[in-house]
């Protein structure tokens, strides 16, 4: 595997073709393959079941043509025994296979595809280069229908009664992207039961899709037939008002749900981990990533259907749990990679070595590599050139180290492929030879030259010479840049003492890190104090009491109640926060910040709330069970203040909460009529089971729309609720003894915290994470994390998972004594600086400040630890007093001038 340089010759020569599973069977691949172009590791592998040599005993074409002797037919499967302290199961899910059901016609009609197949059809890297066409005849579709809940919420056909949580959103996404591809007259339609856009910024996406012309039809399609030989499809469905409609579509996309991967279930069973009735790994709401076996944790879709951010949250939470489990052995099995001492090059004239790579035939087959190398040899300060077949191969790397030493090179230029994939490798190589990593420069003569000019060999050679000349001129004035590291104060400051803040604190303290909690109110507990049970029925108050006790008594945790943060400064590893308790000010030094400021149910003036005693909200009835004795009817109203113009988001937890309460009322008072007035029921994931149970118990669900909201009026002996029933097409009047409102969840006031730590919030005042998918608990600035409702409304189990994730992410900082930071930062020339402050205003990371210098007024000062090297400050400076290291104006201009 070390020898493979992923040149692709083996796959080119391999005569055996097979189905490409990565492309969902829509393309062929060879028996020797990489699954996809960006695969890691980028190494070719032999599919033994398809390889002619393994099946029939002869061929070995790949071996014959491999330029680096990387093929080893003797390699055997072997058993490896590992001794580990902990296990994290993350083996994921399998998309539901609809072939076993004839009603979807996936196996029979070419123009019925699954959503996974459609992802590959859409992908620019997919089998059709992103060109959407029908599989039957290659025609561009004008109309596509998406069918929701295929393999989800379906007991009749497939036994998956849960909701897969992600399909509504991915169907909207696919329809919107398809429209981008196919233009304004493309007509997408989504057939759904309830639209479940319950995540952060999902509702806005849904509304935008509607305005972009995506048609949403609340119906299940019952029949799909082919109308003609070209493969056009006819769909038959019944609208909500009872009308039978027959409509033609060019394609149908089945929004398939998630099932636990068979191999994952197998692995879980082997490890003796308990599964739930749906074959996902069983967990508790209070310990959302712990399996039934101590030391074995689970994260992602193996625990239940969920989207990417929630999977990433659980991944970090599982790392946190494993970190607690293994805390006493931290650092015992890892060692830092060491490099030889760096030689000083400051005073020496440049001695540049240029390596012009052939990249097999990728470069050498088109450009005249010897001519390019000869040309480079004539450039000033170039003392050595070479033309390796593959500069990145292991032997070429070893040779490069020798050459650098022998030739006393102090700058290295590699003219080859892209620095995006290969610069780190070459930088490591020159470090192994004792050179600073930043004395390296790359010229991309493959992707930007021979690949795009393959038909013009001479011009390609000339362009390669230009690119090499530019790189050499820049290399001439490259300078060594020392590593940048900062020390780490191994403690955390946590803003907010609710369940998220406390969970984060205890998760860090149990790993041996100190934590301070700053809580505004007089006691710990936050919004969780109002909730009795999780959606799985676990007792929250019991858990909360234990948690408060542990937090209050943990030697590593300091709690400041009735306290507020008045000032904050510093950067990752080195923050200082000033906390005011009464009249006293505490200055706290800490390495990380976790924001867990929480949220609350909003107050409303709708539906007679606050005007009539029988109108309550959220957990009022649960907390005051006497309000339900002898009561004839209870009406729950959903989306009170959510999913409207004022708050264009779904509060995520209200449907589940009301459904849970409705079941509870039905169990305790079977004669009480319970109604839930809703817009879409969003009992996502396994919460769907509660929805089913509620219907079985006789809870009546009536859908309303934003333009026909229910009306609550005072009646002689209680309340009258008027609501238009879209199934009956009639207005109903429900006499209610109690009306309970699911009011919108809003974030706690957080402007002060956002301003003090320079943290972004979205339009609805929830804190904004660094990346919606991949960094759901990090802020963009290092060392700052977010969890709980401060980030978005979420259930207790989700808040706990995110709090543990924040602690897990924080531990990646706190586990070190110092942190290496990219040294490619901005640098102020104070002699030129006029202290105008533009750079400070424009910096998104708080990495450049104004400092008063005696007798010289204000001057800009870099906080290198916070700098991301974006260059905004340098480009905004009116005096050109700021340079970016490694990308100084002079260095860029040297390359530009060389091109001119």
């Amino acid at each position: 595997m070390d020898k493979c340089i992923a040149c692709g010759t083996c796959a080119e020569k391999c005569p055996a073709k097979t189905t490409d599973a990565f492309n969902e069977g829509l393309a062929k691949r060879k028996a020797i393959y990489v699954p996809y172009a960006q695969a890691v590791p980028l190494k070719y592998a032999i599919d033994k079941n398809r390889c002619i040599y393994f099946q029939k005993g002869k061929c070995r074409a790949c071996e014959k043509f491999c330029p680096t002797n990387a093929i080893n037919f003797d390699d055997k499967e072997k058993d490896i025994t590992l001794t580990v302290g902990s296990v994290i199961l993350t083996a994921g899910f399998t998309p539901f296979n609809p072939d076993r059901f004839d009603n979807y016609q996936h196996a029979k009609f070419p123009n019925v595809v699954t959503s996974m197949e459609f992802e590959r059809i859409l992908s620019a890297g997919g089998p059709f280069g992103g060109h959407i066409h029908r599989l039957s005849d290659g025609q561009e579709p004008r109309k596509i229908a998406w069918l929701q809940c295929v393999g989800s919420r379906d007991l009749n056909r497939c036994d998956n009664e849960y909701c897969s949580s992600v399909c509504c959103m991915y169907a909207i996404k696919e329809s919107v992207i398809a429209k981008e591809h196919l233009g304004a007259d493309f007509e997408p339609a989504i057939f759904f039961m309830d639209m479940r856009t319950h995540g952060k910024d999902f509702e806005k996406y849904y509304e935008r899709a509607k305005s972009q012309g995506v048609r949403f039809i609340r119906s299940r399609v019952h029949t799909i037939t082919e109308t003609d030989a070209s493969g056009t499809l006819n769909l038959v469905y019944v609208t909500e008002s009872g009308e039978r409609v027959s409509e033609e579509f060019d394609m149908v996309v089945l929004s398939v749900g998630m099932e636990p991967a068979a191999s994952a279930m197998e692995a879980a069973k082997t490890l003796g981990v308990e599964l739930n009735p749906y074959h996902f790994v069983k967990t508790s709401d209070m310990t959302p990533v712990s399996t039934s076996r101590e030391g074995i944790f689970v994260a992602g879709a193996l625990q239940g259907p969920k989207d990417i951010p929630q999977s990433v949250v659980e991944a970090s939470a599982a790392a946190c749990s494993a970190g607690i489990h293994l805390a006493s052995a931290r650092g015992t099995l890892v060692k830092e990679k060491t490099f030889p001492a760096e030689q000083s090059v400051q005073d020496d004239a440049p001695r540049i070595g240029v390596f012009v790579c052939n990249c097999g035939i990728n470069i050498g087959g088109i450009a005249d590599v010897p001519a390019v190398a000869a040309y480079a040899r004539e450039l000033g300060n170039v003392v050595f050139t070479e033309e390796p077949l593959f500069a990145c191969s292991q032997d070429a790397q070893e040779k490069m180290v020798e050459i650098i030493r022998e030739q006393k090179l102090n700058r290295v230029v590699v003219a080859a492929c892209t620095p995006r994939t290969h610069e780190p490798l070459f930088q490591e190589t020159i470090r192994n030879a004792g050179l600073n990593a930043y004395l390296f420069e790359m010229a991309n003569i493959r992707n930007q030259c021979t690949w795009v000019h393959s038909a013009e060999k001479e011009k390609a050679t000339e362009k390669a010479k230009d690119l090499v000349r530019m790189a050499v001129q820049r290399a001439n004035i490259l300078e060594p840049i020392p590593d940048l590291s900062v020390g780490v104060n191994k403690s955390a400051l946590i803003v907010g003492g609710g369940i998220a803040g406390m969970t984060a604190a205890i998760s860090l303290a149990d790993q041996g890190f100190a934590a301070s909690i700053v809580e505004k109110s007089s006691s710990l507990g936050g919004a969780a104090r109002d909730v009795l049970h999780t959606w799985r029925g676990e007792n929250i108050q019991e858990h909360l009491k234990k948690l408060v006790d542990r937090v209050s008594n943990h030697p590593q945790i300091t709690v400041f109640t009735q306290s507020e943060i008045v000032d904050a400064s510093g950067f990752v590893g080195n923050f200082e926060t000033r906390v005011k308790t009464g009249t006293e000010i505490h200055a706290i030094q800490h390495g990380v910040v976790i924001v867990a400021t929480g949220g609350q149910a909003s107050v409303t003036d709708e539906y007679l709330y606050g005007k009539h005693p029988a109108v309550t909200r959220w957990h009022d009835l649960e907390q005051n069970p006497e309000l339900l004795t002898g009561v004839g009817s209870v009406v729950f109203i959903q989306c009170v203040g959510s999913r409207n113009d004022q708050r264009p988001y779904c509060s995520r937890i209200c449907c589940t909460s009301s459904v849970y309460q409705a079941i509870d009322i039905k169990e305790k008072h079977p004669d009480t009529d319970v109604f839930i007035l809703y817009r879409d029921i969003r009992t996502f994931g396994e919460r769907e089971v509660l929805y089913k149970k509620a219907r079985e118990k006789g809870v009546v669900f009536i859908r309303y729309s934003l333009n026909k909201k229910p009306v609550v009026t005072e009646a002689a002996d209680g309340l009258d609720v008027r609501v238009f029933d879209p199934i009956l097409q009639k207005e109903l009047i429900i006499h209610a003894d109690r009306v309970n409102l699911a009011t919108a969840i809003e974030p706690s006031p957080n402007e002060d915290i956002a301003a003090l730590y320079k943290l972004p919030v979205n339009a609805e005042k929830f804190f904004m994470e660094a990346h919606a998918k991949l960094r759901p608990v990090d802020f963009a600035s290092d060392g700052l994390f977010v969890c709980g409702i401060a980030h978005y409304p979420k259930s207790i189990d989700e808040s706990i998972a995110q709090a543990m994730a924040a602690a897990g992410r924080a531990a990646t900082v706190l586990a070190r004594t110092s942190i290496q930071i990219s040294p490619l930062v901005s640098q102020v020339n104070r002699d030129l600086c006029i202290g105008c402050g533009l750079c400070t205003d424009i910096c998104p990371f708080g990495a450049i400040i104004q400092e008063e210098v005696d007798g010289k007024g204000f001057k800009a000062k870099n906080i290198s630890a916070s700098c991301k090297g974006c260059g905004l400050c340098a480009s905004s400076c009116p005096k050109k007093a700021i340079d970016m290291l490694h990308f100084r104006d002079a260095q860029i201009l040297a390359a530009v001038c060389a091109a001119a």
Binding site: A39, G85, I172, D201, L333
Partner: protein, 60 residues
Amino acid sequence: MSNKTTVGSVLVVGGGITGMQSALDMAESGYYVYLIEESPAIGGVMAQLDKTFPTNDCSM
């Protein structure tokens, strides 16, 4: 646990987006990580997706 010698390594089963995040977090907080994946490349299902909601970012 205190009576036994704790081993400072972890096995992560599955190299999709979840497994990779767990592995990185564990490695960066001082533990040796074994990441096992049944296919020849890590990346999982996310690598097969075209774009991600709600930002329409490229999945790759």
